[in-house]
Each structure stands twice: as structure tokens, then as C-alpha cells.
Amino acid sequence: MSRYIVWAVAAVVIVVAFFVLEPFFVSPASRPGGPEGLVGQAAPVFALRDDRGGAVSLDRYRGRIVLMNLWASWCPPCRAEMPDLQRLAITYAGTRLAIVGVNEGESPQRAREFADSLGIRFPVWIDGSQRYGRTYGALGLPTTVVLDGRGVVVRGFDGALTFAQMQSAVAPLVGSH
């Protein structure tokens, strides 16, 4: 009987010791830095305005695949990438894919002039407080994030993408086109 008690007490001590020591040897799951680190998390939803002053929000895109591109007019890689985003918007027009360009920190007028100069027709949102840039852990611009129909981040990219990279990111979600 007493032997069982000894073993039971020893087991309790070992379990508690493991419980106390475990955090020092098992670190929280390491996530990659930047936008890729958000994969699997729900994208934050902020009430923003578009470049025409209309109220916009990610909530309106539930059920659709969203490719969010963070950009600014002073950023040369953003300028280089924009025509391919517009081409992607045309290619996937009429599908579940929505493309949204989110201007980081600039005035609506500047963003609109920039978009018009490049013939951009997809929605352009104005993130004056750079909230998406902060929460997506943008390491630079452009930054691109792909969300599924539930608003969960499925892909995150730092830097400009080619048209082929954009297609390969959205095609599995939208289906072949």
C-alpha cells in the first residue's frame, strides 16, 4: 500500500515539475516574420474610405477570395507591379476573386491620381493611419496578402510579384481559369 503512495506522490511531483519546466524548453511555435507570419489568422477588419470617399470594409468581401495589395505612390516596385494587378483583375473578372489596392498613408487625391495614371480599375482604399501595414507586419512595400472566403490569411508576400506569381497564389482558391 505504502509503496503505491510513494509512487503516486513521485508521479505528482514529476508532473508538476514538467508543468513548471516545460515553458523553458518548449518555445511558442516560431512564425516567419512579415506578412507570411499571418497565415492562418483572421485578417483584421478596419473601416476605411476608398479614393472617392466611400466607406469600405473587408466584411463586404466575405465569401470571396481577396487579394489585398498594400502600396504607395512613391514606391517604384509598387508602380512596376500595378499593371500586373490590373491584368489579374481583368483575367479573373466575374469570378470569386476580388482585388483591392490599399494605399498606405497617403491622401486620397494622390492615390487616385496615381491609380488613374496607370489605368487601375480595381478598388483603391485609403489607409491613412497605415493600420493594415502595421498589422500585416509589412517589411516594405508592396506587400500582398491573399484571404480566403472566411477572411483568413492564406498567403502573404513581401515585395513585388510577377503576374505568374499572382496567378499561382490565387488559382488554387478560385479554381482554374
Partner: protein
């Protein structure tokens, strides 16, 4: 037996003290932790002899409980004393997820110039997320609380009033207009915090120096009493000073410098103070085992039950107390 009990109580008391008065350098001292381990050893040696001599099974269980209490409290106290890092204040950018070794991930709130939440969320593996506020909160082997720091929300515009992107290439968050003011420098004998940011559209690098209301009143012209002030110094992209490129933004008002209109709003934003402490649950378990073991070793089980009943039913005087052994 009494030596074992005394050693166990001393170890439990040390663990409790580390929780009640956390953050003392003593807890990380080598000799202190060696002393705790020595007490555990004394408890075990004494308990071994007492266990052999103990006759009723209940007394043996009491001895084991005391030894277990010493082991658990010893592990909890020496783990935090030897493995856990020293006290630290963790500063994160708004929206940042800061990974902390042996603890988890601190999620800093997304603040705007209008409102800054003062709580931080702690996410830990196998635990529900908890909110860390100004009141201390135990989490595993740590005690956490938030402390408020002054940060500066900056807004940059060109001279036509168009808003411009603010970046912090050397900061913790690249696309953040919130300056965490982590650096310090001495100006005219005053120790002041500063930070820097870029305005890439205008190819400008801006240094921002924060003055408290008292410092601003003493050093700077153009400030109202009680107003914090931010001094901006604007350089070109190669960090060469520009003419007319120093301006003062006081009370959140805009100021022109180096072809920019700059506004600095001073707000408070939480940082997290992290102090190592023995695991709270383990310490409670150890304390209960020690007390239970000591009580059981000096009283027969039936007497314990009667004592317990009389404790919770003080009006019931008909329950006789047994004699102590």
C-alpha cells in the same frame, strides 16, 4: 520529521515571497538557489528517516506530502531563479506580435492617435489568451503588468497638405507612424527620448525629440504650460541637414520644416513589465501539501476530520477534538 517540515515550510515560504514581492535580484542569485536546493536535500534526508519510523500509513502519507511539497516548491522557485530571465520591460509597436522565450506571444494593441488601448494580449501554447493590464497577472513562471510609456504619433504632409507615408526602416514596425521613443540623448543637461522616421515620398529623414511639459517650458519657446513638445529635425535622404529644417510641434499642432508639415501627438502606449516568479499553481499545490502533511503528522486522521468540521461548523461544539500525538 520536524526538520523535514521546517525545511519544507522554508522553501514554500521562499516561493510565496518570490510571488508576493517579485522582481528582487536576490531570487536570481546563485547562492540563494543553492540554499533552496540544500533545503530540499535536508527535507528529503530527514523525511526518509521519518518515513521509515512512521507507523500508521496516514503518517507515512503525511511525510510524503511534506517531501513532495519541498520538491515542488523547490523546483518552482529554482526554475524561475535560475532559468528565467531577469526583469525586463518589453516594448512593442502597435499591432506587433512579439515572441517572448519561455512565455508566449505578446500582441500589442493597434493604437490610433485618437485612442490607445492600454492592454496587451498574451497568447500561450495550450492556454487561452489573457489580457495583460496595469494590475499584475501571473502567467506560468512570470508575473506581467503593463506600464504606460510616452509615444509619439506622427503625421507628415507636403506643403500642399497631402498626407504622406511615414516609414521606420530601423524601427520594430516598418509601416508605423507611431514612434516608440526607445533611444535617449542628453540635450543641455536634459535626458530626453528620441526616435526617427522617414518620409520616402519627399526623401526626408526626420529625427523627433520628445520633451515633457516641464522640459518644454524650461527650454523651448512657443509652448503652452502643460504641453508636451516634439522637436523635429529634417535631413535629406543621405542624412545631410537641410536649411530651415528644425521645427517644434507643441500640443499636437503642425509645424513646417524641410518642406514638410509635421505634427507630433504625444500619447501613452503600454509596454509590458515581465518579472520571473515561481509558478503560482505549483506554489499553491506545494503550500497545501506542506500544510496538509504537517497537520496530518501531528494529528490522527479522525482528529483532522473533527477539526475540519469544527472549523466549518463553529457552532457545533458537540464534536469532540481528539488528542494530538
Amino acid at each position: 520529521m520536524s526538520a523535514a517540515a521546517a525545511a519544507a515550510l522554508a522553501i514554500v515560504a521562499a516561493a510565496v515571497a518570490e510571488i508576493l514581492v517579485p522582481g528582487q535580484a536576490l531570487y536570481h542569485a546563485g547562492w540563494f538557489n543553492v540554499l533552496l536546493l540544500a533545503l530540499v536535500a535536508v527535507c528529503f534526508i530527514s523525511a526518509r528517516g521519518a518515513y521509515r519510523r512512521a507507523q500508521p500509513a496516514s503518517t507515512r502519507a503525511a511525510v510524503l506530502a511534506i517531501a513532495a511539497a519541498a520538491a515542488i516548491a523547490g523546483v518552482a522557485a529554482t526554475t524561475s531563479g535560475l532559468f528565467a530571465p531577469d526583469n525586463q520591460t518589453l516594448i512593442g509597436a502597435p499591432g506587433q506580435r512579439l515572441r517572448v522565450e519561455s512565455l508566449g506571444v505578446l500582441v500589442f494593441p493597434l493604437a490610433s492617435a485618437e485612442s490607445a488601448e492600454q492592454s496587451v494580449t498574451l497568447e500561450r501554447p495550450l492556454h487561452a489568451a489573457v489580457t495583460i493590464g496595469a494590475r499584475r497577472r501571473e502567467a506560468g513562471n512570470f508575473i506581467l503588468r503593463t506600464v504606460s510609456r510616452s509615444v509619439v504619433f506622427v503625421e507628415a504632409r507636403d506643403l500642399r497638405g497631402n498626407r504622406l507615408t511615414v516609414t521606420q526602416p530601423s524601427g520594430t514596425a516598418f509601416l508605423s507612424p507611431v514612434l516608440l521613443m526607445e533611444h535617449r540623448q542628453t540635450i543641455a543637461g536634459l535626458d530626453v527620448p528620441y526616435d526617427s522616421f522617414n518620409v520616402p515620398a519627399m526623401r526626408r529623414v526626420v529625427k523627433a525629440i520628445l520633451f515633457t511639459p516641464a522640459q518644454a517650458a524650461m527650454m523651448l519657446h512657443g509652448t503652452q504650460p502643460g504641453e508636451s513638445a516634439v522637436l523635429f529635425a529634417v535631413d535629406d535622404e543621405k542624412e545631410r541637414p537641410l536649411p530651415h529644417a528644425i521645427a517644434l510641434s507643441a500640443g499636437g499642432r503642425a509645424a513646417g520644416a524641410g518642406g514638410l508639415s509635421l505634427r507630433g501627438s504625444v500619447e501613452t502606449y503600454p509596454a509590458v513589465e515581465v518579472v520571473a516568479a515561481p509558478n503560482l499553481l505549483a506554489t499553491i499545490a506545494a503550500a497545501l501539501l506542506a500544510i496538509g502533511g504537517i497537520v496530518a503528522s501531528i494529528q490522527r486522521p479522525a482528529t483532522i476530520a473533527r477539526t475540519f468540521l469544527r472549523t466549518i461548523l463553529p457552532w457545533e461544539t458537540s464534536i469532540p477534538l481528539g488528542r494530538s500525538t
